[in-house]
């Protein structure tokens, strides 16, 4: 048969069509690359803004004070009742003897954080022998001073509009030239709980709250999820009822997380009487949320174990339960663990369900157990983002960096385990 004009490989129409098809492929590729590029650009933009505004929070301005712990500041037996604020003030007045008048003194005292007095109090309580001695210590500066040092206060504005007044500026410069003002590593950020003074605020209480919550979630959701998956995959009969269960598990994985919070409020708090705002109730709610994810992942990895393994085990006389626990489960476990870690990472970043059960709260004391009130890392970010003080902006970004760090770490572990234990059939 002779080729017709339109299918003849040498005809101009054929060549045109061929070109058009190549062009279509080319432009599709370009679109794909463009999409990836745009997505990457957004990611880089997001990460760099967070890093840019957050890295400064890891440094903090400190002021060196010469303090004298005269006995007269401790009239009471109880050392905690000593006038530590008075000691700090006296130290400041001795550095700037020219300061007089109520307003002026107030401005001077506002250079040093309230944390200075708390720091002295802790030192004296740890070692009462310090009373009667003189020494120098570095204490945190007030957040406004810190913001000035980090270049976030515009000194060209008229004085009335600035948080740092002209006189304060002069004194800060004096301190700086005298070597009494320094940027140091912000240890407080990692060792203390929330505070309403940005210079004293830390993420430890939130991080510990998140940790306890995740422990509960892991201990409950992993065994339950794996057991449910094994039953559904290996033992359950195939009928309408199990179909229904399967559909519902898939649906549950897509339910907005705040619904689980409402459920937790109604059942765990109002009905069981578990105390509000505790990692215990938070962990229970997050268990509900992660269970479907774990069941689905566990079932998928059980499914990927080839039937020949089961048949061989049954063939040499193993019982059903021996087959599952001696042969199938060990092979499926790496996949299950990966799914669990992904589920945990999801739970770590969740705020909405915690809102309903009272974990969006101001927590200063570091929680010491499962029934102490606690917040969580994402909650801390949310609370700081809503605070009026400007210094909280960088704290918010710093907390985001920490949270992202944990998430990346957890996902990296999951990827590593998958790579290491993955068996290709």
């Amino acid at each position: 048969m002779q080729p017709t004009e339109s299918t003849n490989a040498f005809s101009p129409e054929f060549n045109q069509r061929l070109k058009r098809r190549y062009r279509a492929e080319q432009s599709f590729k370009l679109m794909g690359i463009g999409a990836i590029f745009i997505a990457l650009a957004f990611l880089v933009f997001l990460l760099s803004t967070i890093l840019m505004s957050g890295y400064s929070a890891f440094k903090q301005t400190y002021i060196k004070l010469d303090v004298t712990l005269d006995k007269e500041y401790f009239p009471d037996e109880d050392l905690a009742k000593g006038d530590f604020q008075g000691i700090v003030k006296a130290s400041l007045y001795s550095m700037f003897p020219e300061v007089s008048g109520r307003r002026d003194k107030r401005m001077l005292n506002n250079l040093v954080s309230k944390g200075a007095a708390f720091k002295l109090m802790d030192m004296v309580e740890a070692d009462p022998k310090l009373i009667g001695t003189s020494f120098s210590i570095w204490v945190p500066a007030k957040d406004d001073v810190d913001m000035l040092m980090k270049g976030n206060i515009d000194m060209d504005q008229p004085e009335a509009n600035r948080r740092i007044k002209d006189k304060q500026y002069e004194r800060i410069r004096t301190l700086e030239y005298g070597g009494r003002l320094q940027m140091r590593f912000n240890k407080t950020f990692f060792t203390s709980g929330d505070s309403r003074e940005p210079e004293l605020a830390g993420i430890l209480s939130a991080a510990k709250g998140s940790f306890y919550t995740l422990v509960i979630t892991l201990l409950l959701s992993f065994p339950m999820g794996v057991a449910a998956a094994i039953y559904l995959e290996e033992f359950a009969p195939d009928n309408t009822f199990t179909d229904l269960i399967e559909i519902n598990i898939n649906n549950l994985a897509a339910v907005p997380s705040i619904i689980f919070g409402l459920l937790g409020l109604a059942i765990f708090i109002n009905f069981w009487g578990i105390p509000r705002s505790t990692p215990l109730v938070g962990g229970l709610v997050l268990t509900l949320m992660t269970l479907p994810t774990i069941i689905i992942a566990a079932r998928a990895s059980l499914k990927s174990v080839p039937p020949s393994i089961r048949e061989a085990a049954l063939g040499v006389g193993a019982s059903k339960i021996q087959t599952v626990f001696h042969h199938v489960l060990p092979l499926a476990l790496p996949g299950m663990l990966t799914g669990t870690i992904i589920g945990m990472a999801q739970a770590l970043g969740e705020t909405a369900p915690l809102l309903m059960i009272g974990m969006v709260a101001f927590i200063v004391d570091i929680p010491g157990g499962f029934t102490d009130p606690a917040a969580a890392l994402p909650v801390q970010i949310y609370l700081w983002a809503d605070s009026p003080e400007r210094a909280f902006t960088e704290k918010t970004s710093a907390a985001i960096i920490i949270l992202l760090g944990f998430l990346i770490l957890m996902n990296a572990v999951a990827v590593y385990m998958r790579k290491k234990f993955e068996i290709k059939w």
């Binding site: 905690a80 309230k114 948080r163 065994p223 200063v364 009026p388």
Partner: protein, 343 residues
């Protein structure tokens, strides 16, 4: 066998955690309520926690209504001891409290909060009246004897003395207490000065002055006031509505509009001259004082001059203190735990 061991260990650990006493006596104060009072109450709580041997109170930010709902649910360690509110308790809420066995509630007014309309420093400050704001933001306005959907596009359309910039106001959503207060103090006052002649009583009856425009002139910017401040910096034509403490912290980039001839300064709000300010409260369950450790001491800290006085640390955070006489009276009420009367 390893796996079986793991599962058994997991189950045991779970059982241990689950059986730990959930109903232990609470040794910390539990506070809920308004997000407006939250930044002030937390400062007091922190100070209290660091200077006494008591634990730092736990403060949840639930909103005034949500807080009162939790507060009135009952007496006992499962229920909060104190609720913060940016408005007074309603009669219905008091009745609900009473129905749940909460007989004595101590009402404590702590100070005032100003609501400001602010814009970027790059633009000129606005001089507004409540009537101007009403006409600019109401969903329906009276015109030629009937109510019409708000036709004003620029501030000049509203009042010829104002600049010809587009009306664009960023403010809180309806769930916010700040929005409630704004509607009550500005919109419902502003409507009084508008010429309503020619409109039938029937229409007037149904008219809601608190309904704000939905055509883009009023933008609901969420509960996050920091976000509004940032948006104002980016858009000098826009105005934003938020609490005074945010203006106080950002006075180098934004400025408060002058309302009825008064600018929103600390002094003007404290003197009661600035018209848009509201009282802040907290409510204490008297039955819990003595049962939960530290409540009386926490109240004493809050009602001390070094906290809520004109030179106190709450004023530093942007709360407007009460006048001397009022402060003294509430300090006495707090000391004697004087329960409030039924409304």
């Amino acid at each position: 066998m390893k796996i079986k061991g793991l599962i058994v260990a997991g189950a045991l650990a779970t059982a241990t955690i689950m059986s730990s006493p959930a109903h232990a006596n609470r040794d910390y104060i539990s506070i809920v309520g308004s997000s407006t009072v939250y930044p002030f109450a937390t400062v007091v709580a922190e100070q209290f926690g660091k200077t006494t041997q008591f634990k730092t109170p736990k403060i949840e930010s639930t909103g005034s209504g949500g807080g009162l709902k939790l507060f009135c649910a009952g007496v006992g360690v499962d229920h909060p001891d104190i609720t913060n509110a940016s408005r007074a308790i309603k009669k219905s809420e008091q009745e609900k409290c009473a129905a749940n066995g909460i007989k004595d509630i101590v009402e404590v007014k702590i100070g005032y909060d100003g609501i400001v309309l602010a814009n970027s420093k790059k633009a000129d400050p606005m001089q507004l009246t409540r009537k101007d704001i009403f006409l600019a933001l109401a969903k329906d306005v009276p015109m030629d004897g009937k109510l019409v959907p708000n036709p004003y596009m620029t501030w000049k359309d509203v009042n010829s003395a104002l600049p010809a910039t587009k009306i664009e106001v960023l403010g809180p959503p309806p769930t916010s207490g700040t929005r409630d207060a704004f509607v009550e103090l500005v919109m419902e006052e502003g409507v009084e000065e508008v010429d309503m002649s020619g409109i039938s009583d029937e229409v007037k009856e149904k008219f809601e002055p608190g309904a704000l425009r939905e055509d883009g002139a009023y933008v609901e910017a969420g509960e996050n006031d920091n976000l509004i401040v940032q948006k104002l910096q980016a858009n000098p034509d826009a105005l934003g509505i938020f609490g005074f403490s945010f203006l106080d912290q950002n006075a180098d980039v934004i400025q408060g509009s002058i309302i009825e001839g008064e600018s929103p300064t600390f002094e003007n709000i404290a003197a009661g001259k600035y018209p848009v300010s509201r009282p802040l409260f907290f409510y204490v369950k008297k039955a819990h004082v003595g049962t939960i450790p530290g409540i009386a001491e926490y109240l004493a800290e809050f009602a001390s001059e070094k906290a809520w006085g004109p030179e106190g640390y709450l004023a530093d955070k942007g709360m407007i203190p009460m006048p001397d006489a009022e402060r003294k009276q509430f300090a006495d009420d707090v000391k004697n735990l004087k329960p409030m009367a039924m409304k």
